[in-house]
Assembly symmetry: C2
Homo-oligomer: 320 residues x 2
């Protein structure tokens, strides 16, 4: 049986192998990966892609674990593509997925893949998009894409999903601070976490603050009205509300055509992104492999040449 | 008197005009700007460039206002280049500098420029670097560069300064959460804010947490040992400690050669960054102005062509 057929049957080992393939940077793998994706795309599933973002400390992983286990209990099949925060300078992955989401990772109906965030900004990449296509074809109901809370990565993640959610903690609802984060504009839903124990009251207040500042957050043509929800990951409350809201938004967006429009826009986004990426790589290689460029940069360091002239010279050489 | 001479004399109007010039994207201005910077670079000052980063809600602006007013009271001349958080979708600047840093902006010895963050990721750009050169030549003692807390922008900011500091709030010191943010590796100093009132104890605990996790944060060859400090922006405490620490680190780095090495590395970084930028712009223009590309993307949307083939086709056309 071919890899495609095994994926369509939902075989976990095949899914894991395919995701490794699309994440690979080896030339052979890239070709194989292209062929795989072009076949899978002809066999789309019905999955809803949900993005999760949020600053460190808001309990993002805990929420995903809690919400995930809720969905699995409701018999949904759940795929999770998590960006594993790794050190940007050393490139090493600090936390493996073993330490995270321990509960749901054991479940038959969940598939979790953690990708180190080294390399591309924040870790979301073209490969993440293709991993989602694999999980979709394999029959998953929900595909979660979790990003670390950094700018460009969040925008990329927003361009991968049907619904983008921002998880926030109690006390973060101060109106100005909320607006400061440009990502709030991309969010379809705001999930105020930690509505339990001592923080319960503050979480409610924060939810109310977000609610009242929603009118500042200009809805784009590709989003329905934004929603604010209150949850406790610890007590697993509010999960029904999140599920219903996601399903409602998807249903509204499908009727209005927003759902399709968004997926089309995203396809165009990723085509352009990949074109940029390829050229970027060619430039990097060009700079790295050409000894002349190092010499040129040195001539600025030693004061023999101005920075602007050197930039122009390098550009001329690269453009040839 | 030429603009260069006026800047060297520290004339505020000339500084403001020059910064507007280097931030301009008009072709004429760019030429004038190149000439200006190449002259100023021959007349360097003695300024120390300090970067400030931190998530929304940690009181970054309040700290900068408080620390700034402390330095100005000590008769230092202070330039502040702040990235004005603006909406990424709408492109409009929401907060002007009028609402921020109201106290020190009135002082003769401070020069504040707020740049909207639209366009480049997070707002730090080549122009920010040149604005710092202008303030340096104009005789400022300290140049603060404040960024919004997003990934790429922070890395760019770290490549603009002699000392990079991360402002954190009480309760953020959980070891794992601290490591999650890759930017901690770039930070030379960690400033734990809000060590006052009810949060005083928690802030001390957070500082201790950071202190004990410092050994996880691999020091690079271009940084001395990292320091943790405890401050209250409201009560203006700890500012002497921050000042002394900055001066000590600079002094150590100058003796060890790290200071010069870092500035050289940064120059090389910005040359490459500008080369990438120019090519990126050419690609963007190429995609935007070529109607064929829109058609090609449409052929994927309508299922006539695969995504990968289309990417290859666009690349071939752009590379010609």
């Amino acid at each position: 049986m071919s890899l495609v057929d095994k994926i369509l049957k939902g075989e976990r080992a095949a899914i894991a192998k395919a995701i490794t393939l699309v994440e690979s940077s080896r030339e052979n793998d890239k070709q194989e990966s292209k062929e795989l994706i072009s076949k899978l795309i002809l066999n789309p599933g019905h999955s809803v892609r949900v993005g999760f973002s949020g600053s460190p400390g808001v309990g993002k992983s805990t929420f995903i674990e809690s919400f995930g286990s809720y969905l699995v209990k409701k018999s949904f099949k759940l795929g999770i593509l998590a960006i594993d925060p790794s050190s940007q300078l050393t490139g090493g992955s600090i936390l493996g997925d073993k330490t995270r989401m321990s509960e749901i990772s054991k479940n038959e109906n969940t598939f979790i893949r953690s990708t180190p965030s080294r390399g591309s900004l924040g870790g979301v990449s073209f490969g993440t998009r293709e991993a989602a296509i694999i999980l979709d074809s394999a029959g998953y109901d929900f595909i979660f894409i979790e990003t670390v809370g950094v700018g460009q990565s969040e925008i990329m993640a927003a361009n991968l999903v049907d619904i983008f959610s921002l998880i926030v903690g109690p006390g973060s609802g101060d109106e100005l601070q909320g607006i400061k984060k440009g990502i709030t504009e991309y969010a379809d839903i705001f999930i105020v976490n930690k509505a339990d124990g001592d923080l319960k009251l503050q979480a409610s207040k924060t939810a109310a603050d977000y609610q009242s500042s929603l009118h500042y957050l200009s809805a784009s043509e590709t989003s329905a009205s934004k929603k604010v929800m209150l949850v406790s990951s610890l007590e697993q409350t509010g999960m029904d509300d999140v599920t219903t809201t996601i399903q409602e938004i998807i249903s509204i967006n499908k009727k209005s055509g927003i759902f399709e429009k968004r997926r089309s826009d995203q396809l165009a986004y990723w085509i352009k992104e990949e074109v940029r990426n390829h050229i970027q790589q060619k430039v990097e290689t060009g700079i790295r492999e050409n000894d002349q460029f190092e010499e040129m940069i040195n001539s600025v360091l030693t004061g023999k040449e101005t920075m602007h002239n050197t930039i122009d010279l390098i550009l001329k050489k690269l453009m040839k």
